[in-house]
Amino acid sequence: MVSIKATAMVVTLTICLLAADTSAVYNECCRRYMKTKIPFALIKGYSVQTLTELCPINAIIFHTWKGKACTNPALKWVMDYVERLRNKAQIVHNRTSKLQN
């Protein structure tokens, strides 16, 4: 009898769990790269996709006015862009910290 009660409870729990409101989940991954270069002017920022997490390849994702773009971190122009974005940030950081000091 105990096991029947337990089963009934688990079944109810199952239905409750699965009927619960579930939000949309989007796991994005780059699976290939852009073959052409993006103009630097389009870029708003970047993020890094690494093989060490859930995605199977490394990639630099540039966030542009046209949307996200997957690029190959092995390419020179890609890392140049990243470097340029970092430098810009560094310059602003320096200016801001000078102003505040």
């Binding site: 009927a19 989940v25 991954c29 630097f40 993020s47 060490t52």
Partner: protein, 400 residues
């Protein structure tokens, strides 16, 4: 690949008219696996809850039968009980996994490790135990002379202990490398704000979340997936975990089952027994159902593992994910079919099973009956207990 050298033109974004700039098909956004998401969201919960309920009922009945009616007398009994336990644990974790997959792993890091880990342990133990059952049947039927020595009860308990230990050891990478986190390529976006004004740029370690319009509405979204500290471990483990699952969790039991059951069928067909055809059909059903349930998923898993690191289009990778989701559901179905294929085909088992229903009916009467009839119903209960059980200590478990 040849890329034009970086000319200064794109620095000069004041004059640049990127509105006219069209990439056509060459613009490569990250894949969002939309088809797989819709399959998971619509089909997943409903089919999984059916599997879960069927699996809970079927495997609970097997366990209840062994616990209260049928003492584990033979090697086969021990294996069948262990398979039922493995399958029951598996279907019990299933709704939690489905819920978490759909709710950005809202149950947190401990649930992540426990659910992924126990999924793996139950998968391995279930599959290896099915292989054990096939060898047990091979010894009983083909090597009948040696069977008294080899099919002893302590021997089978040792084998089950080994199976569970091996299943646990094979799941250590899963326990260790599955982590609960927010993927950095989704959660950490290094933005340059106010591009035109050339004003507020930020440092890498100074993250602005939700700068983009589509990010503002996004709540932190966690996953329960592999995470590694270095690329080499990532490479090896991402290949090794599905590789071991394919070889030890599918191919090894498959080969053992095919070898053992082929010998069993050959022996049965030679025998002069009028029930042999029924036995052959049962054996064939066991093998056919195993292959039908697990072969599609393992083929997709193999294809996915082999092509994982190759560059592919979003359409192709989405299709593979859909195929994986669908075939995995078919593989889960095996948990509900095991009680039918292994336990309930036995005549003795069905008799015990009938007794359970008789007892439940009597108990039901006892509970539903009003208080004033309690003496009468308890007499009915006691008499049923005597007639059905034979052994009194089993019946006492039902007095609760």
């Amino acid at each position: 690949m040849n890329y034009p050298e970086d000319d200064q033109s794109d620095y000069d974004y004041g004059n640049y008219t990127y509105d006219n700039y069209t990439y056509g098909d060459d613009w490569v956004p990250p894949c969002s696996y939309q088809n797989n998401n819709s399959v998971e969201r619509v089909v997943g919960p409903y089919i999984h809850s059916i599997i879960c309920i069927l699996g809970l009922v079927g495997n609970s009945l097997v366990i209840v039968t062994y616990a209260f009616y049928k003492r584990t007398k033979s090697m086969t009994d021990v294996y069948l009980l262990n398979v039922a336990v493995a399958d029951l644990l598996f279907v019990a974790t299933l709704p939690f996994i489905v819920y978490n997959e759909l709710s950005a792993w809202s149950m947190g890091p401990v649930a992540c490790k426990l659910l992924r880990g126990s999924y793996s342990v139950n998968l391995y133990s279930g599959m290896l135990l099915l292989a054990c059952i096939s060898t047990d049947r091979y010894i009983a039927i083909v090597q009948a002379r040696r069977s008294f020595r080899l099919r002893s009860l302590p021997y089978s308990r040792i084998i089950c202990a080994i199976v569970w230990t091996v299943a646990f050891l094979l799941s250590i990478p899963t326990f260790y490398f599955y982590n609960w986190y927010e993927p950095s390529h989704i959660g950490q976006i290094h933005m340059l704000e106010g591009r035109e004004q050339n004003l507020t740029h930020i440092l890498d370690d100074f993250l602005y979340k939700g700068q983009e319009e589509n990010l503002t509405s996004r709540s932190p979204h966690s996953v329960c997936e592999f995470r590694f500290t270095d690329n080499n471990t990532a490479w090896t483990t991402k290949i090794a975990v599905p590789g071991i699952q394919l070889s030890v969790g599918f191919l090894l039991p498959l080969f053992i089952m095919i070898a053992c059951y082929t010998a069993v069928i050959v022996t049965l067909l030679r025998a002069r027994n009028f029930q042999r055809h029924k036995a052959v059909r049962v054996v064939l059903a066991v093998v056919v159902v195993f292959i039908a349930c697990h072969l599609p998923y393992n083929m997709v898993l193999f294809y996915d593992t082999v092509t994982m690191f190759q560059l592919q289009s979003c359409g192709a990778s989405d299709s593979v994910e859909v195929a994986k989701t669908v075939t995995q559901t078919i593989a889960y179905l095996h948990c509900c079919l095991n009680p039918v294929l292994y336990a309930f085909v036995g005549v003795k088992f069905r008799n015990h099973f009938r007794k359970i229903f008789q007892d439940l009916w009597c108990l039901g009467k006892r509970y539903i009956a009003p208080r004033r009839f309690s003496r009468v119903t308890s007499e009915v209960y006691v008499s049923s207990r005597r007639s059905v059980d034979g052994s009194s200590e089993n019946g006492s478990s039902f007095t609760m």
